[in-house]
């Protein structure tokens, strides 16, 4: 049976009977009411397939209904449940307890994002920077204006950008980025990787527009190729590669 170590009042009635238990340590903080962050511990049973999201929901459902958490698809497709798990940005639904290889799982809200409550952070800035790089195909040709019914691409042309089209806007890359940690105006690895995604698309004609947007003091040049964004990306987008390839266009190595 799941048991609680501190604070919340709710008691569980559900009985789960695996032998192993993990201590879930949750950072609880509401900027509107709390003076500072506090840590609350819960003891949760787990199996080898249990994810961090599963134990969080177990705690929320049976021990403490007040835990603030955002989630949706539970399969690393929606990008909602990004958080700092044992010190690194990860998706809660994509991180199994067993892979953490510890009996203490610490969860905090993502860094470099404003906290709304507990583990829920605001994505306003990420969406704003994402929109800024014009994340759509810019082309005068369309199925309506030309005789072509489709804008065809070879598999090789698709391979140039498809990796970057996997971005689920979870924000983990922005949370891991050392430049984002200090520069509030930096456009961020998520938006820069998406800029590359469209610049590399042969259907797109907006390359010059996008390069102009990112070629500024808080733009692409603030990236120092630390690579942390790529290490935490749960979808293999590799923003660091996209940014360096994008820089190749600005330096004249690519056209």
């Amino acid at each position: 049976m799941a048991t609680i170590l501190s604070t919340p009042k709710e008691k569980t009635t559900s009985v789960i009977s695996p032998s192993k238990k993990v201590t879930l340590r949750v950072a609880k903080y509401n900027p509107k009411t709390d003076p500072k962050k506090k840590w609350v511990n819960y003891q949760i049973p787990y199996e080898k397939w249990t994810t961090v999201l599963d134990v969080l929901l177990e705690a929320k459902n049976h021990l403490d209904h007040s835990i603030g958490i955002r989630y949706s698809c539970r399969q690393a497709s929606c990008g909602s449940c990004g958080m700092i798990i044992n010190g690194k940005p990860r998706l809660a639904c994509f991180t199994k307890i067993t892979e953490l290889d510890t009996t203490m799982v610490t969860v905090e809200p993502m860094k470099n994002f404003p906290i709304i409550r507990d583990l829920v952070v605001g994505f306003d800035r990420l969406f704003k920077t994402h929109k800024r790089i014009k994340p759509y195909i810019i082309s005068e040709d369309s199925e309506i204006t030309t005789k072509t019914t489709e804008l065809l691409q070879t598999p090789k042309e698709v391979n140039n950008y498809i990796q970057f089209a996997n971005c689920i806007k979870c924000g983990l890359c922005n949370s891991a980025c050392p430049t984002m940690a200090t520069d509030s105006l930096f456009i961020g690895p998520q938006a820069l990787a998406q800029a590359y995604r469209y610049v590399a698309d042969t259907r797109d004609k907006g390359k010059d527009d996008r390069l102009k947007i990112i070629d500024e003091s808080h733009g692409i040049w603030r990236c120092h190729f630390a690579g942390s964004c790529s290490q935490v990306c749960p979808k293999g987008v590799d923003p660091a590669m996209g940014i360096q390839l994008l820089r190749g266009y600005l330096l004249g190595f690519r056209s």
Binding site: P109, N159, G227, M241, R247
Partner: protein, 144 residues
């Protein structure tokens, strides 16, 4: 406009090298060595400007570098210089899109082509080269 607390990690998070592998260690060393070399550059200009004070002034300031502390500081400068140069070449090539891999269709467990073995080898080589250069420098300075 209302200031939003972005929960930034700040300098503490930026300089924490423990969570993201050797690439983040290289990032930190690169920054530290850059700042160290900048400080040395300023000190070096001050040091050499003492020649304007004549032979006595020049020898006075040079004698500071002939102490044990002076030798250790110069050895650190040698290490910073070698690491910054070697790792700088890796970073410059990477930032030009060279050696960061080619875009592919990602498959689970999604390895990052840009964080490839060549970069890791280059980082470790830079650290080893810097250590060897420091040892050589110390041997020359203290071997007199």
């Amino acid at each position: 406009m209302e200031k939003v607390d972005e929960n930034k990690e700040g300098i503490k998070g930026m300089v924490n090298p423990r969570r993201y592998g050797i690439e983040r260690v290289a990032y930190l060393l690169m920054r530290l060595s850059g700042l160290g070399l900048l400080a040395y550059f300023v000190a070096h200009i001050y040091e050499t400007s003492n020649i304007l004070r004549g032979r006595v002034g020049w020898e006075e300031v040079i004698s500071i570098t002939q102490t044990t502390e002076g030798h250790v500081i110069l050895a650190i400068v040698i290490g910073m210089c070698v690491f910054h140069t070697a790792n700088g070449i890796r970073v410059m090539l990477g930032e030009s899109g060279i050696g960061v891999g080619k875009p592919i269709r990602p498959d689970y467990p999604y390895p990052s082509p840009s964080q490839n073995a060549r970069h890791k080898i280059a980082i470790y080589s830079s650290i080893i080269l810097a250590a060897l250069a420091m040892m050589y420098g110390l041997a020359v300075m203290f071997g007199e």
